[in-house]
């Protein structure tokens, strides 16, 4: 098990004892009736094995992106545990990453996980060149020799079909699709064990979307990292993932093999979602 999430919750605002029990899909609400806090993620359990690709679907506001941010720790969780197989304490026991110190957290985010955001502005530093962005991630993952770093940056730019002679250009001089590919280069350059993707192709035109998804899929096959993909586009989910979970009001209402979710959905919300396909 590379990723193991247990009873993970995120409550925005002051919480009370009813927050988790009185919200969710059953109540069709994420707002606690007593203290009016918003429950972003409500008691989520998930696990993922080496090389598996998990999709998260759900309506906007269902907590998909928040869940991803809790794993990457862009947002601090309120309750629960997240274990990653590579992350252990001194005695060799698996350690909850929510208890990680700042240095440990840096290791997790630099070496073990990478995140690809919908908006490349969140994943790239626009004060650095394309190559500089990738180099930063490579250096943080522990490679220190200039030539090694440069070679690795060139390798990933080439892999993502960015013209390598443009390595020293700044991100804003690239098109949106190219910026997204630079972000992918950066994310993969540290050789992560888990890749997190938040709506990686939303807003891109179809041909660029296909190129980027094909590329991600090819690299996943080649390198074999585990992946969590958040998308509201069932086509993207079908293309990339093996297993899908469906979220509503912060809870997982259904999980299963992706083809089963699409062809034999069980939960009323999933049936509505699948019947809304174009």
């Amino acid at each position: 098990m590379i990723l193991d999430i247990k009873n993970l919750s995120k409550i925005f605002g002051k919480s009370c004892s009813s927050c988790l029990s009185d919200t969710g899909a059953l109540y069709n609400s994420s707002i606690c009736p007593k203290c009016k806090s918003v429950v972003g993620v409500n008691n989520v359990n998930l696990c993922l094995k080496q090389g598996e690709v998990l999709g998260i679907v759900g309506e906007s506001g269902s907590g998909k992106s928040t869940l991803l941010q809790l794993i990457y720790q862009d947002v601090e969780a309120s309750l629960g545990e997240v274990f990653i197989s590579q992350f252990k304490d001194k005695s060799g026991k698996k350690k909850n990453i929510l208890d990680a110190s700042l240095t440990e957290l840096a290791t997790l985010r630099n070496e073990i996980m990478s995140m690809i955001y919908q908006n490349p502005r969140l994943g790239l530093n626009y004060q650095f060149s394309a190559g500089g962005n990738i180099a930063e991630k490579i250096m943080c993952s522990g490679i220190k020799k200039y030539q090694d770093i440069r070679d690795r940056a060139l390798y990933f730019l080439d892999k993502t079909e960015i013209p390598v002679e443009r390595i020293d250009d700044y991100p804003e001089y690239f098109s949106g699709g190219q910026q997204q590919r630079i972000q992918i280069s950066k994310a993969l350059s540290s050789n992560p064990k888990i890749l997190l993707l938040d709506e990686p192709t939303t807003g891109l035109d179809l041909s660029v979307q296909a190129k980027i998804l094909d590329l991600i899929k090819e690299l996943q096959h080649e390198i074999g990292f585990a992946m969590v993909v958040v998308s509201h586009d069932l086509g993207v989910i079908k293309h990339l993932t093996d297993i899908t979970v469906v979220m509503k009001n912060g809870q997982i209402v259904e999980n299963g093999l992706t083809d089963q979710i699409l062809e034999d959905p069980q939960h009323p919300y999933t049936q509505l979602l699948v019947s809304s396909i174009l």
Binding site: K49, E52, A210, D214, H239, D242, I243, N255, G256, L257, D259, Q260, E263, D264, Q266, H267, P268, Q271, L272, S275
Partner: protein, 229 residues
């Protein structure tokens, strides 16, 4: 050696978007399948034949009953309750499904879609492509089409590419949904001959045919489904 054991299998679909009505898929299905045996599901349209195959592959969930798959080691796994990771690994190594129609992306050529099945298994790219071309040629696909997307082909050609994809790297259990539906006599015979070879190699298969003559040639047994009430 028993490969698959299906007991009291039942499937109902609950359609929440239509006020929660229940639709009966199939009822009380019982059969066993041995290693190297070919079982045909037989029955009128709407009897649930394709639904049974999809349930065996876990594209459909099981409403009740059990589906036990036995590996060569003798270990039995209930396909209707196994976790997703286990099903994924079974699909990779043990159970193949050949759908009625070809589903693929429009950016992949005929040779690539067939050869990647061997490449996934670890065979080299060159030999995989050579074998894929040989099989496509055997199934009467013209060489000039090899590097084009099968989605631009005729219905019968697409189906032959689909079969080539399904049988080039055979798994111990193959589920075949109307593999010969849109093929002419010559090509139907070619497919049947290939399936007979697989049977000799010990591959167990469950198939659905509309062509009764083809069904008789390949089947060891048939299992009759009647229209669901």
């Amino acid at each position: 050696m028993i490969r698959l054991e299906v007991k009291n299998l039942r499937k109902t679909f609950r359609v929440h978007t239509q006020g929660g009505i229940e639709v009966n898929g199939f009822n009380d299905i019982n059969f066993e399948l041995k290693k190297g045996e070919f079982l045909s599901l037989f029955g009128p349209s709407g009897a649930g034949k394709s639904s049974v195959l999809k349930t065996l592959f876990r594209t459909y969930t099981t409403s009740s009953g059990s589906i036990i798959y036995y590996k060569n080691s003798g270990e039995g796994i209930n396909l209707s309750t196994a976790n997703e990771s286990d099903i994924l690994s079974l699909r990779k190594n043990e159970i193949g499904y050949v759908s009625q129609f070809l589903h693929m992306l429009p950016r992949i050529s005929a040779v690539d879609v067939v050869s990647e099945q061997l490449i996934f298994k670890g065979e080299s790219e060159n030999s995989s492509r050579a074998k894929a071309k040989e099989l496509l040629d055997y199934l009467s696909i013209r060489e000039e089409l090899f590097d084009l997307s099968p989605l631009t082909f005729s219905g019968g050609e697409q189906q032959r590419v689909n079969i080539a994809k399904g049988i080039i790297a055979p798994k111990p259990l193959l589920l075949l949904d109307e593999p010969t539906a849109s093929l002419d006599k010559t090509n139907t015979m070619k497919v049947i001959r290939k399936l007979q070879e697989l049977k000799k190699e010990g591959v167990s298969m469950i198939g659905i045919f509309h062509d009764l003559e083809a069904m008789d040639m390949i089947s060891d047994r048939t299992y009759k489904l009647s229209r669901v009430l």
